[in-house]
Amino acid sequence: MMRLTTLLATGAAVILTAVSGLAQPAPSPGTPHRGGQVVIGSIQEPNVLNPLLTNLTVSQEAFNLVLDALTKIDDKGSVVPFLARELPSVSTDGKTYTYRLRRDVKWHDGRPFTSADVVFTHNAMMDPKNRIIGRPSGFLNVESVRAPDAYTVVFTLKEPQAPWIYTWTSLGILPRHVLEGRDLNTASWNTAPTVGLGPFVFVEWVSGSHILVRRNSDYYLGAPNVAVVVYRIIPDSNALLAAMEKGDIDMRFATTAEQVPIIERNPGWKVWRTPAYSVFHFTINNAHPIMSDRRVRQALTHALDKKGITQTILRGLVEPAWTPITTPSWAHDSAVVKFEYDPGKARQLLDEAGWRLNPASGVREKDGQRLAFSIVSIAGDVERQQIVQIAQRQWREVGAAVDVSLVDVGTFVTIMQSGNFAIGYGFWGAGPDPDSMLFTWWHSKGNNWLRLRLPQLDALIDEARVIQDRRKRRDLYLRAQKLIAQEATNIFLYERVFFDATKTRINGFRPVAGGGVNTWNAHEWWVGR
């Protein structure tokens, strides 16, 4: 019974491929097999499939199946051309980026893809009427965009910006002929993008259940191997695990460290470990009355046993972090100052800073004020909760009175933006270019949850931003990281590692470390027997 329904599930297209497959000699293990379906299991549901109206990873994973981008970030962190024939040519002053487009690309309704679609997407991104969420910061640096012919787009920047090349990566192009003149905020295309450019064609989105796409036989890089991809929503992580065990799911991205050993016990599954460009850390409000003293920040770093936390809660699957630019990056600095776990040193620094222990209460005091603060984090994530509790205990041991406050994501972000906190806990993600991490979070013109004012750091980040020479940029970023570590602007805990699980019979999966999405090469995936 089950077999029959599964067979029916994939529809006539699969049956046809299966039949034609029988006529051919059996493929060797390395030759892609055509047909079959891949089910991606996800806890979260995308909000929309319009790249302009979302920045959720789940949405990006799903829309990259049906839409396509000028360039994408591959599994090595490099920018590779897709709708663009090659990487853009950059003028010597670093201010003009010229994209030459492929001429063999058609929308799913058969209309040709041209430079007008790219210009339309750019303009839609900048239109104040649209409720834009997914706008890469590079858009704000564009002075003008023009299309000298149907297959060329030229962007002129206000200022040179080395990382600008990442602006059009994994950013789905909108179909001008479908969306022009419509209200982009409420267009039905947002949740039913039947006209796209991607390797798969949108079939249906059943809200709360799944998104189903089928192979685009006319895909310009060749028809995908897989006939059908289903993006299935299973909101409970334990139920998702059971569905993986049962075999109803073929892929699950970004699972927790806790589930890694459980999944690996099953010989039918493989867990890919991809070190990411993001870092879990304690966000310190550097303008907070207690935290504005550098010695307090350094003392709290000394008091935290990073190694112990990564070995226990994270099962030794990740490494402690000392800088925001993680190991996979070309700008990573392994030689920054490390305030290693040393509670004695922490106590000494707090004494120096004037926080004297009140033996009666066990809490330090200074000018009648107690060394009391709370850690804010996001509720509902056991891993984070345990980590925050350990930090609470270890900071109490050196004489701080620490509270923990767990809130939902929305509240967390509001608190971080308001500056009304002492310490937060979470992760900051970034793309392959160090600028995306450092400018956004450490520059005083960025989001600045740290409430930081370090003109010296701003200057380093600004300078590295405009030059193209990678070696010079690297030097500047090393200096920036040394400054960040010395100032203890944050307490870095560990470098994030993505744990992506796939069935062993899924081939061609190449997970990305950040800045891109795991579905970037879905057209190359194939299902083994």
Binding site: I133, G410, G429, A430
Partner: protein
Amino acid sequence: MVGRALMRRFVVRRLLGLVPLLFGISVVIFSLIHTAPGGPTAVYALSPDFTPQQQAEIERSLGLDRPLPVQYLVWVSGMLAGSWGHSYKDGRDVRDVVLERMPATLTLMGTAYALSLMIAVPIGVFTATRPRSAARYVVNVLTLLGISVPTFWTGLLAIMIFSAKLGWMPSGGMYTIGAPFSLLDRLRHLVMPALVLAAVNLAMWARYVHSSLIEVLQEDYVRTARAKGLAERVVIFRHALRNTLLVVVTLLGLSLPGLFSGALVTEAIFSWAGNGRLIIESLLGRNYPVLIANFMILAVLAVLGNLAADIAYAFVDPRIRVGARS
């Protein structure tokens, strides 16, 4: 039996009372959901490229920067004109967003209620009429278990045993995705979540039927019936049970909103695309238009459920006469 005109007046009066009640409820709900910190765009703010300025612009464009009373008036006038607004999450019409979940929720909840009812009444009768039998204790323990064991546990256990280990049942979802419609396939997906949900209600309802029947069995008219020499079966099923059904009717009436709101935990565990999950997701995402639409429908159903129970009373219970004075 019941005076028709009286009944009609009763119903009309109750329905008219609904209007001010709903306005009151809407004011309360509207102010409550807006007092929660955070806004609909906060969930996107973890991404570095989404700036607080952008966030503020979007909230202004959604009208969230206006004073709350103004926002309320905008919403009410829209609602009265038949427009439910657009979902903050995806820009879709709120009516579509809410109503498309109805079939899934109705199927699951309806099946679960029907199952519980069909099993709970016989169990209640059984335990009430055999007060000292060993079987009664077994049933009591089982029903108590049904009440106290949470559905996320029974649900997961069921999935792990019958789906992951034995492979008899699908692990979740409402049907085999991509397959043509098949009633059998739908039923296979419905069985586990419906049973898990039914277990909870069943246990509770069986206890209600049990205690109510025991009470009724002490009544004078039951003693009279027995004295007349009627068979015990007739006494229980014709005389006592009918009055016990009052409890069941009340329970059913009060369950009406549940038919719409669905079951949050069970829906999540079995990845059932019902309204319970929509409500929770809208709550977490501060999707105010979808939330308030859901809550308003729930309020209407709660009131209607109570009304239906009242009306049904009049039919079931010979002692109740609408509008009659003794």
